[in-house]
């Protein structure tokens, strides 16, 4: 077991190292941030002074080693645009993104599971078929366009919900959160639903498949034969069978929610990490781009590592197969 964890841990370190190299070299080959900061008419000495200040005059490999040394000390460079440490900027925006992702996750569970179970128990009803067509649509609709249409309908035409920003926030354990104020809730509703749409479709499919399977299993038949109420059979017995795949998949999908929040945050001007990276990409703010990509790679590697380890605890076959490779 510990050998398995150590091997996976080493693999993760290699992935992070490789990605850091890829990201750094890739990002440093393109664009010229100097032209962004100084006007073209600036004197040559001024331009050279800035290049020296930013360390852009040294060879790329030296810049990389310097970057790694600093990164290990928690310094991922200063934003060219904000003049603040890139890491600090990203960590400041992180709670907003995580709040959005968690809200979307919650919506996926709250809407997805009941709809999926209903479609699984009554597969022939028209309403079930509507739910399933809806889930196909949910897979096909481009997220950003749905977001725009939501703004058009609920913000512009009906005027029910605000279209941009986080609204009023309160401090919870030192973090700013939106979901504890009415105004904040009104602001988070549309972006969270937009981000959740794909996951709702996914959960509907998973719970429908699980419910259909469970309805024919002996323990469900037995529960019925015992004379339990239908609602109890579904809520307790069928539900248990569904929760395992749903929770596993959603755990894995949490990372993709954070990645996709880039799109939702841009549409709804949600002040999270995603909006920051898009702005940074437009401004060629390289330290912020590199820092964001490194942080997100780290988040993903940690999620994947945790899932792998959990799997190997739940299913010993995984680690035996892995050792045999």
């Amino acid at each position: 077991m510990s050998a398995f964890i150590i091997r996976r841990l080493l693999q993760s370190v290699v992935v992070v190292a490789l990605m850091s190299l890829l990201v750094f070299v890739g990002v440093n080959v393109v664009g010229d941030p100097v032209h962004m900061l100084v006007s073209p008419e600036a004197p040559q000495e001024e331009i050279e002074r800035i290049i020296r200040n930013l360390g852009l005059d040294r060879p790329v490999h030296e810049q990389y080693l310097f970057f790694v040394k600093n990164a290990l000390n928690g310094d991922l460079g200063r934003s060219f645009v904000f003049g603040e440490p890139a890491l600090k900027l990203i960590i400041q925006r992180m709670p907003a993104t995580f709040e959005l992702a968690f809200a979307a996750l919650l919506m996926a569970i709250v809407f997805g599971i009941p709809l999926g179970i209903y479609a699984g128990i009554y597969p022939d009803r028209v309403s079930s078929k509507l739910i399933m067509s809806g889930s196909i649509l949910g897979f096909s609709l481009p997220t950003f366009w749905v977001g725009l249409m939501m703004i058009m309908v609920f913000a512009v035409m009906l005027g029910w919900l605000p279209s941009t920003g986080r609204g009023e926030t309160v401090s919870l354990l030192g973090l700013k959160v939106s979901f504890l104020t009415i105004d904040g809730l009104r602001h988070i509703l549309m972006p969270a639903l937009n981000l959740a749409l794909l996951k709702i479709s996914l959960v509907i499919r998973l719970s429908r498949a699980g419910a259909r399977e469970a309805m024919h299993l002996d323990y469900v038949k037995f529960a019925r034969a015992k004379g339990l109420r239908e609602s109890r059979v579904v809520m307790v017995h069928v539900m248990k069978n569904i929760m395992i795949p749903v929770v596993t998949v959603l755990g894995l999908e949490f990372g993709s929610l954070i990645a996709f929040s880039v799109v939702t945050e841009t549409v709804f001007a949600w002040p999270g990490m995603g909006k920051l990276i898009i702005d940074a990409l437009h401004n060629l703010d390289r330290p912020v781009i590199v820092a964001y990509l490194m942080i997100i790679v780290l988040v993903f590697v940690i999620i994947n590592l945790m899932v792998d380890i959990l799997y190997s605890i739940l299913d010993p076959r995984v680690r035996i197969k892995d050792a045999g490779r």
Binding site: V15, L22, V23, V25, G26, V27, V29, V30, G31, I136, L137, F139, S140, L141, P142, T143, F144, W145, L148, M149, I151, M152, A155, V156, S163, G255, S256, A259, F260, V262, V263, T266, I277, I278, L281, H282, I289, L293, I296, V297, F300, N304, R325
Partner: protein, 303 residues
């Protein structure tokens, strides 16, 4: 006796595999309709310059006085804008036709290149096995553990904008799916007797890979290909919407939608709405065709 003569005179209708495939495919009316829609869209994309009412990128013909006309409006020259005009006075219907051309072009091109690349890599992994297989599949696993949009963001930040660059990015995002699919079916095929026979004939590995193994791995590859192409089109639109995809000189559907964003808050809904509908119809049609292909090509579901 006469019976025998009769059957000899009228040769029995022999169904070729292609005919059987077509019959199976058109069993679902929804899939047939989707195929018709898809073919229409491809036709529009290919012939956009000839069938568009106007050329939206001919500066001499576009007038700022026509800007933000609602659907169905007519201008002074008697030209009707069926779907309205955008902020620069371009006919939206024509822009969508041209946009489809770019969206489909990038999506299909990247899909085909990724398919060739992924199939070659996957076949190689399955055929040689051992260390080669381990290294390739580890790479595939690592890439697939990151969401496509994240990989695309990393690549775009490294490569920059442009049609060629976004195609490269989409190829890199997609190849792993093809490699995994081909490897899985090639591993099954590899243990079959015809491959053994070919190996005994001392045929070169390249010939065995591409002439013997590949044709038998095609069905799942085609299914993944349709779904992936839909993904690629959607991803390209998303990147273009974020301003990271195609430059404004080559506006895909995603860019058209992005251009309409600023006008939407003042009530000009159509500039974003119609390109989105075009995108949606394209993606749904491809997915429906892909679904039916999966059912038809899956031997387990055949009667």
């Amino acid at each position: 006796m006469s019976d025998v003569v009769d059957t000899a005179a009228v040769p029995p209708r022999v169904e070729t595999p292609l005919q059987r495939f077509a019959a199976d495919f058109f069993e679902s009316r929804l899939a047939a309709a989707a195929l018709v829609v898809l073919l229409t869209i491809i036709f529009i994309a290919v012939f956009a310059p000839w069938i568009s009412p106007t050329n939206p990128y001919d500066l001499a013909k576009v007038s700022i006085f026509d800007a933000r006309q609602p659907p169905g409006a007519e201008n002074l020259d008697g030209l009707t804008f069926l779907l309205g005009t955008d902020g620069a006075g371009r006919d939206l219907l024509s822009s969508i036709f041209y946009g489809l051309r770019i969206s489909l072009g990038v999506g299909i091109a990247s899909g085909v290149i990724a398919l060739c690349l992924g199939a070659s890599v996957g076949l190689t992994a399955a055929y040689y096995g051992g260390r080669v297989d381990t290294v390739i599949m580890r790479l595939v696993d690592i890439q697939l553990s990151f969401p496509a949009i994240l990989v695309a963001l990393i690549l775009i930040s490294a490569l920059g904008k442009g049609v060629d660059k976004i195609t490269v990015a989409l190829v890199i995002v997609q190849w792993a799916y093809y490699a995994r699919t081909v490897r899985a079916s090639a591993l099954v095929e590899r243990s079959k007797e015809y491959v053994e026979a070919a190996t005994c004939l001392a045929l070169p590995p390249r010939r065995i890979l591409f002439r013997h193994l590949l044709p038998n791995c095609l069905p799942p590859l085609i299914v993944v290909g349709t779904v992936q192409t839909a993904h690629a089109i959607s991803l390209e639109a998303t990147l273009s919407f974020l301003g990271l995809g195609l430059p404004a000189t080559e506006p895909s559907l995603g860019l058209l939608i992005a251009n309409g964003f600023e006008y939407m808050l003042s009530g000009s809904y159509w500039i974003s709405f119609f390109p989105g509908i075009a995108l949606l119809i394209t993606i749904v049609a491809i997915n429906l065709v892909g679904d039916q292909l999966r059912d038809v090509l899956n031997p387990r579901l055949q009667k």
